[in-house]
């Protein structure tokens, strides 16, 4: 369940407060993909937003694998004040990852597993920072974030990848009641044993709703296309790799990480069936996804 807004009592159970100078800082732990990340803020409004936005993914008991301190700043103090159209930039400088976009500036220290974000109060900034941080953490262990919808049926996860308009949100909307939605936007995959496990994420697309915080072994990845009939076609490993790389979320222009990401995509192609799923946008498509 994802309530629209947590009550003060509910927040109290999910938040740890501590003195930070003259202000009280609050920590919340957001666990996505089994990787708990703590976020510290002195802003009660930002805290409320975090609790609301990530309500299904809060885990106050978890030991964080990374700690983020968020400083809320006025827009004119951020990179966007200089260039509001600046693209996202992710670079490795002096042992730190530096993330920069119009609405936030972040520096993440992978050795200390700690980072600082200066951002507007916008939820999109922390959302973007989460996605980038998770992609960097996952890269080290062979996991990836994929621009794809995903869902669980009969205890197995299915991914639906495609460019915008290919039908990710449509196929999610058409899912019957026995299907659990993991996400309609960003799928989260981690290596486990000889295969992969898909996790639910709070990252929502057009549907505007977070996924369920559950996990399941990945059974298949479908490359989506809409057409006149429902059909599943095989694709070559090279085409599957090409399509997968087009859908992988990756931000850093770093040769070591790019090589790891390439390896991760290659491994996934070797271990998980990847097929082209052409579908008519109606509920019958779920008859072939079992």
């Amino acid at each position: 369940m994802h309530p629209g807004s947590a009550t003060p009592q509910e927040i109290a159970g999910m938040v740890v407060g501590r003195m930070m100078g003259a202000e009280i800082a609050h920590d919340v732990v957001v666990e996505i993909g089994g990787l708990p990340i703590s976020v510290r803020t002195t802003s009660p409004e930002f805290l409320q937003m975090l609790v609301d936005r990530y309500s299904g993914f809060l885990n106050p008991e978890a030991e964080p694998v990374f700690e983020l301190e968020v400083e809320i700043a006025a827009a004119e103090m951020l990179p966007g004040a200089i260039d509001p159209d600046a693209d996202l930039s992710v670079r490795f400088e002096g042992g730190r990852w530096v993330l920069e976009r119009g609405d936030f500036h972040a520096e993440l220290d992978p050795a200390l597993r700690r980072g600082h974000i200066r951002q507007t109060a916008s939820p999109y900034a922390i959302d973007a920072a989460f996605r980038i941080l998770h992609s960097l953490l996952l890269a080290k262990e062979g996991g990836i974030l994929v621009h794809a919808a995903s869902a669980v049926r009969n205890g197995r996860a299915f991914l639906f990848a495609g460019v915008s308009g290919a039908g990710k949100t449509t196929i999610t909307r058409l899912a019957p009641p026995d299907v659990t939605r993991l996400t309609d936007e960003i799928s989260y995959l981690r290596r486990e044993g000889d295969g992969y496990v898909a996790y639910g994420t709070p990252f929502a697309g057009e549907l505007g709703q977070p996924g369920e915080n559950v996990r399941a072994p990945l059974a298949a990845l479908y490359l989506l296309a809409q057409g006149p009939v429902n059909r599943i076609d095989s694709v070559t490993d090279a085409d599957a790799t090409r399509a997968l790389l087009e859908s992988v979320l990756f931000f850093a222009h770093d040769s070591e990480l790019v090589a790891r990401m390439f390896d991760s995509a290659y491994e996934l192609v070797q271990r998980v069936p990847i097929q082209r799923l052409t579908f008519v946008p109606d509920a019958r498509i779920w008859e072939v996804i079992q």
């Binding site: 090279a238 790799t241 040769s255 192609v269």
Partner: protein, 98 residues
């Protein structure tokens, strides 16, 4: 005539997938699939073997092709790969290579 040396760039990742050599550039995250000739040049681009020798050993020996034509084609391929940051080219041996 000056020798031309070619070396694989460090800022790329290369994998052979289903018989196809695919190269992912860290510079712009672009993915390239190399054709047969480009693959042979890539494989021979150790930074110390002159391009002419790569053409002789890897292309002319395996295919019935005029040496001058093969070398001209190879130069075009190298120019394209250099533009995309996949290969480095120099008139001197390139020590640093993958």
């Amino acid at each position: 005539m000056n020798q031309v040396y070619v070396a694989r760039a460090k800022e790329v990742a290369a994998r052979r997938v289903g018989g196809e050599l695919m190269i992912l550039s860290a510079r712009d995250s672009k993915l390239f699939s190399l054709n047969e000739t480009a693959t042979l040049i890539w494989e021979g681009a150790d930074g110390v073997t002159p391009l002419a020798e790569i053409v002789d050993q890897r292309i002319c020996r395996g295919f019935e092709v005029d040496r001058a034509v093969a070398f001209r084609d190879a130069e075009e391929v190298v120019t394209g790969l250099v533009e995309h940051g996949i290969l480095k080219v120099s008139n001197m041996p390139i020590e640093e290579t993958q």
